[in-house]
Structures are given as C-alpha cells and as structure tokens.
C-alpha cells in the first residue's frame, strides 16, 4: 500500500513538473510588453538591457531551469506592471488566506447541501423531489455560471440588505460569494451521488441485503450510500477546480481581495510575471486536488490497496 501511494505521489509530481514547464514555455511566447511597466517610453536599448537583466534573452532550457530553481526557493518573480518591482510572493501573501477561506467554505457548503440532496433524490427517485433536484442540476449545469452569479449578486444583496462591495470583516458579506461558489459543486455532488446511488441500488448485494431482512433505510445508508460515496471521491479534483474557477468570477464580481480577482486584474493589465505566477499556483491546486482524490480512494476502497487499478485493464 505504501508503495502504491508513493508511486502515485511520484507520478503526480512528475505530471506537475511537466505541466509547469508547458505553462512556462507558453507564457514566454507572450509579447514582451508584459515585462515592463512603461514599455512605450523605453528605448530599444533599455528594453534589451531589461530583458537581459531578467534573463529573458537566455535559451529556453536555462530559463526553465531557473524558474524551477526559483520556484523551489519560493521565489515567484517580481511584478513589473501591477505593482512595480514588488516580489510576487509579497503581493500574493495577504490574498492567499482570503481565497483559501472562501474556497474551503464553499466546498464545505456544497458538501453539506449537495450530499443530502443527492441522497434524497436517489431515495425518492422519480418523485417530486427528484424532479425538482434534477431541474436544479440541469439549470446549474447548462447555464453559464457568470449569468446566475450576476443575478444572485443583484437580487441577493437586495434580499439581505447589504452593499455589493465586499467587506472582509462582515460575515454577512461572505454569504453570497460562498453560496454562489458552492452552487456548481452542489449540483455536481447531487447529480453524481444520485446516479451512483441509483446504480448501486440495482446491484445484487443490495438485493441480498434485502433478503437478509434489512430495512430499506438501513440498506440505503449502510450499503448504498456508503458504496456510492467512494467513487464520489474521484470528483474531489473537479470540485477543487470548480472552486478555483468560481473564485476567478466571484472574487472579481464582489471585489474580494483574493487570488482569483487578482488574476482577472493582472490579465487586464497584462502583467506577465503575475499571470505566470497565479496560473502556476492554480495548476498546482488542481494537481493537489487530484493527488488528494487518489489518496482518499486508496484509504476508502479496500480493493485498490492490492494494486487493482480502477477502470481499463
């Protein structure tokens, strides 16, 4: 089991390494304007010496190596445009806790609402609640988030009697962003949990549990829900990503001083180093989600520890 875990971990790290390299190379294809605060006013000489100073005129492998070296030392580069000559880490430091808090609250809320919702939909399959839930899932899945976020903000603030501008110290201000961000994951959890539970409930072992004489509610929770929940772990990475994407929207919509909002800002202002740093961070978050999902599967599914691979052959 330990071997399996370390293998998976090593693999994920390798993947992360490749992804970071690809992202870096892609970002280096961007126009060099993004590396200077006042590009228009600079002479050709100044630009060249600037590039030289940053090491951007060196061959790609060298740049790549330096990037990884700096990354390991926790150096994400220096912002030129968003804030001139301030290390990116210094800009990000106060923003990360805010995004983290927002993201984990949203994940928590989506679990608290999504899981009972999926369970109830499966339990009352084909009944009113199931149809209602399915309607909700279809709406959330089909309509772009940007659209319902806007309306939630518009009418939510009126309903709660709060201002649209975010105030980090007012708990009421957190309600709408957290709720909006959790909607996508709520629909996701509810939909998949329902499907897995419906799938599980037709399996033979459920039939055998009935034959044993267990009650329907007992079967629902100690067999169907339990077994349906394990594959749900696979969706942990996706929910991480959903949260990241949600944060990009939500934070800029509510002017929350977090990472997602920052990304939109620096994109609009074309600050290459900042974009690079945030994109790398987000990609890392995605991979961490994947690793967590894998690890959780190992812990929860006894079949995997023996080296059975999921899917395929």
């Amino acid at each position: 089991m330990l071997l399996y875990v370390s293998k998976r971990l090593l693999r994920s790290l390798l993947t992360l390494f490749i992804i970071l390299a690809i992202v870096f190379i892609l970002l280096r294809q961007m126009p060099i304007e993004g590396y200077f605060a006042n590009y228009d006013k600079l002479s050709k000489m100044q630009i060249e010496s600037g590039l030289h100073q940053m090491g951007l005129d060196q061959p790609m492998p060298v740049q790549l190596g330096r990037m990884f070296k700096n990354l390991l030392q926790g150096d994400l580069g220096t912002s030129r445009i968003y804030r001139n000559n301030v290390p990116v880490t210094q800009i990000l430091a106060p923003k990360i806790p805010i995004s983290l808090k927002l993201g984990s609250l949203a994940l928590l809320v989506s679990l608290i609402i999504g899981i009972p919702m999926g369970t109830l939909m499966a339990r009352y399959k084909g009944k009113f609640f199931d149809h209602l839930g399915t309607g909700f899932v279809v709406f959330i899945q089909a309509v772009p988030a940007a659209v319902y976020y806007l309306f939630l903000q518009l009418y939510g603030t009126q309903l709660l009697g709060i201002k649209m501008l975010f105030n980090i110290n007012d708990w009421k201000m957190w309600i709408l962003p957290v709720f909006s961000m959790s909607l996508g994951n709520i629909a996701y959890y509810a939909m998949w949990l329902r499907r897995y539970m419906v799938d599980e409930s037709t399996k033979d072992y459920v039939q055998l549990a009935r034959i044993k004489g267990l009650s329907e509610n007992n079967i629902m929770f100690s067999h169907i829900f339990r077994n349906a929940f394990v594959p749900m772990i696979q969706y942990l990475p996706t929910s991480f990503l959903n949260t990241v994407i949600g944060s990009i929207y939500i934070e800029s919509l509510y002017s929350i001083p977090g990472m997602g909002g920052l990304l939109v800002d620096v994109i609009k202002r074309q600050d290459n180093t900042m974009v690079q740093a945030i994109v790398l961070l987000f990609a890392t978050v995605g991979i961490i989600g994947l690793i967590l999902g894998d690890m959780a599967m190992v812990v929860l599914d006894p079949r995997i520890t023996l080296g059975h691979k999921k899917g395929g052959r």
């Binding site: 033979d204 072992y205 034959i211 044993k212 267990l214 009650s215 929860l300």
Partner: protein
C-alpha cells in the same frame, strides 16, 4: 411428505413496461412440500426467477400480482404472501421464514464491507447479539458452510475470496436466521464445475441439518438430477409439467420437456447434431392463445393453437399440460433421445 409449506394458486404476475403490460406468470399453481427439494427448470425468460421473487417480496417495482394467492404454512396460521404490501409486511419475514441465494457470488456481496460484518448484519436482524457473542455466531456460521479459519476470514473483504468461497459466504448469510425455505436461484451457474459439486453437497448437508425446504431454480438439468426430489418444468410463465425427478426425467410427457431433455449434450448421440429448440419463447406482451409452446412444436396439434390444455394426471404425483394426453389425440411418439432415457430408467 404431503405436508404443504407453500401453496401457489392461480398466480398472475404482470409487469408494466412503457405503457405495455407483460404477463410474466400466467395463472400458475404449484405446491411445495415441507422438507423437499423442488427444482424449477426452464429457459431464460420462462419466469422462474420472477415466480420466486414473489415468495420473498422482491418483485421489481413495475411488477405486480394480478390475482391468485401464495399461501405460506410455515407457522401455525397460514398467511397469503400475495397480500403482503410494502416493506412493513415483509420485514421480519424475509431472511427468517424464506431466504434466497443469488446466482452470481461475485456480485452478491458488498465489495466495501468485510465478510464478517455482512454476515453479522444478517444475524443481528433477528437476534439481538453484540460484541463477542455476535462475533462467535458469525464464526460459527462460517464454519458451518465449510470456511476454515473463520476468525481471520471474517475480517477479510470479498475480493480476497474465490467464487466458490463467496458463494459459501452467501449461503452463510442466507441461513443466518434459520429460514424454513431456501430459494436457490442458479447458485452454481457462475461457478467452475468442480466447485459446483462442492456447493451442491454443502446445500444437501445443510438441508438435512437445518430441515430446510429448498426451491432450486436452474436451467442445468444435470444439477437437477443431482439435487431435486421433484421437478417443475416452466414455459412462458406457467408450469407445463411437474412430477418427481424420476418421472420427469424418465417418463416426460410434455413436448417441451422432450425438447428440453433432447437438447442436453449428455444425451446426444456422438456424431449427430445436437438437438436445439427452434425459435424463441412467446412474446408475453401479447396474449397467449392455446398451448404457448405450440408455435415451436413441430408436432403441434390444431387445438394447441386454439385452446389452452388442462393438466392431465399421469400419476398422483405427475401431471402435464398438453393435449397429447387427451384420449382423443393421435399417438405421438417421443423423440429418439427420450426413448433412450426411458430405457436407462428401466435398467
């Protein structure tokens, strides 16, 4: 022997499928006697499994009983299982009075729970045991179905068990509450031939030890010959012939039974093409007129297409539903193979 434990009378079972009605069991009657092993044989889709699911209240939600009764004489007062509605009636009955073994041991167990906990669940349903007592009961059951080292095995998960071992576990679960009737739905089909024999022997032993009545569903006639006291042949939702195993095997009367026996590879003549029944069973979405087997029977009579035959009694224990037994019918010789078996019977 004539002590009924289960008596089915004129049972009709239908399914609603996309606005159409499928008539799965067509006014079927059968008696099951205490302590016997009754084998129900027939092709897939003949209704064997559907019939038995009625005895344990596990008909699919779109299926329903449309008349008839299922009287259960397991306790002092007979009860009509056809009137049982919903979970409330069945809880306390399932597992305790009638239990069941499913076909595929690979899927019958929850892959994410230990063997021990799955057996314990069954024990707890009807006995309030806990802790060491419960553990001991579980180990005892495992030992009873022939699993060595139960203390260690109980902590393992199903994927650590072979198919035969899993079926033993399923049997342990099924007998955990000492049921009076055990329904075995093709319990050996998914297993290797060598394992099949072991499981059949285990079932025979348990039957003796626990005084079980066994209803054995199968399409494997070899298995039937091995375990059954009586055999019922099902076709298109009805029993077309029923009798002791000897009667049905050595003196079959219904053309369908003939066809079924003729298609046994063991009875085929070397070098000759194996007999196979032409066509498929009737579409039960449509009303069946006459003898359901007639369209596939090369020797069908005109009346087979028009009127349903009644049961004709051949002996007090043997009856068949075919016009061939009517005194007015012409003499029809059973196929060659059947005559051969008859010969074997006399020997």
């Amino acid at each position: 022997m004539q002590n009924k434990i289960l008596s089915v009378k004129d049972l009709d079972v239908k399914f609603n499928l996309r606005g159409r009605t499928l008539h799965a069991i067509r006014s079927l009657s059968v008696d099951v006697y205490r302590g016997e092993t009754l084998a129900i044989v027939g092709e897939s889709g003949s209704g064997k499994t559907v019939l038995n699911k009625n005895f344990i209240g596990l008909l699919d939600p779109n299926g329903f009983i449309d008349g008839g009764e299922i009287l259960y004489y397991g306790n002092e007062k007979p009860v009509d299982l056809a009137k049982y509605k919903g979970e409330k009636d069945w809880l306390g009955f399932r597992g305790r009075e009638i239990s069941m073994i499913l076909q595929d041991p690979m899927t019958s167990l929850n892959p994410l729970k230990t063997i021990g906990s799955q057996i314990a669940e069954a024990v707890k349903v009807h006995q309030s045991l806990a802790g060491d007592d419960l553990r001991k009961a579980v180990h005892e059951l495992l030992r009873e179905v022939g699993i060595d080292d139960p203390e260690r095995r109980a902590k393992q998960y199903p994927h650590e068990f072979s198919g035969g071992m899993r079926q033993r576990v399923v049997i342990a679960i099924a007998i955990a509450c000492q049921p009076k009737i055990l329904i075995c739905d093709e319990p050996t089909t998914a297993l290797d031939v060598t394992i099949q024999a072991q499981i059949l022997n285990l079932l025979k032993d348990l039957k003796k030890k626990l005084m079980l009545t066994i209803i054995f569903i199968t399409h494997d006639l070899g298995v039937v010959a091995n375990v059954a006291d009586r055999v019922a042949v099902m076709y298109a939702g009805d029993i077309v012939e029923i009798g002791t195993a000897e009667e049905v095997f050595y003196d079959p009367r219904h053309p369908y039974t003939w066809a079924l026996l003729s298609s046994l590879p063991q009875l085929g003549v070397k070098g000759e093409e194996l007999y196979s029944i032409k066509g498929t069973p009737p579409n039960l979405f449509m009303p069946v007129v006459g003898d359901a087997f007639a369209p596939r029977n090369p020797q069908a009579l005109e009346i087979d297409f028009l009127e349903e035959p009644p049961y004709f009694e051949i002996s007090p224990t043997h009856k068949a539903k075919t016009w061939l037994l009517d005194p007015r019918s012409p003499k029809v010789e059973p196929p060659e193979y059947i005559k051969n078996i008859r010969g074997m019977g006399r020997r």
